[in-house]
Amino acid sequence: MKKRSYIQYLSVPFAVLATLASCQNKDVKTVVEGNVTDQVYVAPGEYDEFYAFLSGGFSGQITAYGLPSGRLLKEIPVFSVYPENGYGYSEETKAMFNTSYGVIPWDDSHHIELSQTDGEFDGRWLFVNGNNTPRIARIDLTTFETVEILEIPDVAGLHCAPFVTENSEYLVSGTRFSLPIPQKDVPISSYKENFTGLINYVSVDAKTGEMDLAFQISMPGFNYDLARNGKGKSHGWSFLTTYNSEQAHTLLEVNASQKDKDLMAIINWKKAEEYLKQGKFTERTTSYFHNLIDEKTGIAASQEMKTTRIIDPKECPGMVYFIPVPKSPHGCDVDPSGEYIVGNGKLSADMSIYSFDKLMAAIESNDFAGDIDGIPVINYESGLHGILTKPGLGPLHTEFDGKGFAYTTFFISSEVVKWNVEKLEVVDRQSTFYSPGHLVIPGGETKKPFGKYLVAMNKITKDRYLPTGPELAHSAQLFDISGDKMKLLLDFPTKGEPHYAQAIPASKIQPNCKKFYKIEENKHPYVAKGEGQAKVERKGNEVHVYMTAIRSHLAPDNIEGVKVGDKVYFHVTNLEQDWDVPHGFAMQGAATAEILIMPGQTRTLLWEPGSVGIYAYYCTDFCSALHQEMSGYMRVSAQDSNVPLRWSLGENIEDKVEIPES
């Protein structure tokens, strides 16, 4: 009987879907209109206009694409180990995966955020969240390398992250799954009594970009989903959509979809800063890790952090408000002026658009419809700019073109809809193939969007590309939005499942791109700044090889005196000081990965020989005409052998002086 009622319930939206879809006159065979190749063709030797950074979803990485060509430029490893260059395998990068859960070498990366200055992209850093093991990473855009990862304690499913404020003061995040705080062994059915949701503010150092968990705000046990920060007049405020205000804990598909309205949280973080200064917080003992790469040595170090500061809205009036938002919202987006906040109810046929001025007026005049756990709930109508009625089905995310229009993806009706923010009128719609999640307009979340292109990130790719078995790449679709009508220009496959992207004019990154690391600035403890410094040292059962790589040889290229059971550390310094000349290092039978060493950098590979014999090592990056010759031999002797430790390059190893063991 119960089952039947579900079916009845679900049939309602599907009936709406059918009606709406039929009047959209959709044609899945639609390709492109007219000759658009000129618009996406970037001739050999020319550059793309924009960098687009797409999150890698379940790949745990980020990919950089060029727009408008859709060419893949680089895959940046962030939360997942990456055998292609040894990230997570080299001794320098292993610490990047330390968390309070142990070493977690994978994640689910979702939202890309570029650093901002005065509400515009400054091209310095890129932030992305790990959804599974709650953490936020920072990528340095001079090197396109992950340089920092900060874990967020006492949250689960850090989906709602890491949304940046107008001057990169903070990265705002919220827990997707509420949890008992502190963690404890309680019945799951005690959800309502025992579970709390945290909203987190990570500060970003204006000079170095270094992250620090400034404070957390304890909230009712809802699911916090997405956020944006105010800009311009709404600077200082954060807006977060939440779902499951039903506080259900089983069969959420149904039980968390009962109420017609969920809630949007509105946070005055400047007020929170004041309360923090006044000491109105609880210091809680917990555990989370901060992993940071030292710029001079290139080595990541982990620090376990043991305290966090939690602010309770009950004791801090004027800091947090709620306002109802249509059913199960997903997107929460602020327009370039900072006045309008779009709340997308993904199970609602309508979209609510709020006005910042009206929200402030409602707060001023205590226009509340009660409170939840001491948090005032603003009257829905009082904060509303208006409702965009029946724009499509399943609204998810909205971006802006800076010309007064918003573009929203509709997952269920599979389209992008363009609408006028002020007038609340739909002006254009374009089918996507198929089921778009996020979309991105270069600068579309900033004060000054570059309203030229739009990329829809589609979840389903059936029949768009040559089939590749049961799994198909997700597709991104590029639209020209410079005219009145959107125009489909290009499809291109993506890696993993991108959840959001940000795009920035190449001119803001390209001139600052680092070409190599200066060897005189290399402070790695095992650096060899020239072949004269290449050597092998034994410390107990550890053997440290100070190796150099330069076209086209490794020094030393013959090593003897290593024994079974030793831990052999190859510290390879790339002596090159030229752009695009990395060297690789691979050891026969290494149980980890090979490593890539950038010019001027030192990287360490640990190898534990398991049996006696001669082992070959070599360069893996085709560096020069004599790359194949860039190799060497390691002799491994039995544990009790008395073969002396010695090494050579270009001379007979027998002529080398025996080095006494220390």
Partner: protein
């Protein structure tokens, strides 16, 4: 004559010669600037010597080591000497003073160019017999003046701004000689 001396100082401010190496793998080419007392690269070419040496070792050319080239140390002293002699010639203010100074500078400049030629001849011809890449009959001397194909590189070698200052100095000194003659005749 005073301007001539000032102009001679230009050899410290600008490179004397520029050799450009062009190849597909080096968009924009590699630029080697030769100064009176040092070498330098073009834009971002801080490590030009190391990078040229890496390329040259395949064909067995010797490494260019600025520290081992004594001319880079004593040439500046020669210029200082000439500056001093120039001032003396102004003090003397006689025709013979100017003409001998100009002639001396011409001879020294000629010797400098010849010395440069000898170095390049040595680098281009004195190859390591064990070089990994051997092309029979090939020598790798860059042109003293002009352009030339050397394996995958197209090499262009021309005087740079510093040399033009040197030439300007010679001309100005000659003018000083010319006018001083006139004034003395009057």
């Amino acid at each position: 004559m005073f301007i001539a001396i000032i102009s001679l100082c230009g050899v410290f401010l600008f490179p004397l010669w520029k050799i450009t190496l062009d190849a597909a793998q080096f968009p924009g080419g590699l630029e080697l600037n030769i100064w009176i007392n040092r070498f330098s690269g073009g834009e971002e070419g801080e490590y030009i010597i190391q990078n040229i040496n890496i390329l040259n070792h395949y064909i067995g050319m010797q490494f260019i080591e600025p520290d081992s080239i004594p001319e880079l140390i004593y040439f500046p002293y020669v210029i200082f000497g000439m500056l001093l002699l120039g001032i003396i010639s102004i003090l003397i203010n006689r025709q013979w003073g100017y003409v001998s100074w100009t002639t001396l500078l011409c001879i020294l400049s000629g010797l400098g160019v010849y010395d440069f030629y000898l170095w390049m001849y040595d680098y281009g011809h004195n190859l390591d017999p064990n070089a990994p890449i051997k092309v029979s009959g090939m020598t790798y001397m860059p042109p003293l003046f002009g352009e030339k194909d050397l394996l995958n590189f197209y090499v262009a070698s021309y005087p740079a701004t510093g040399t033009f200052f040197l030439c300007g100095t010679i001309m100005l000194a000659f003018l000083a000689f010319y006018f001083s003659k006139k004034t003395q005749n009057q």
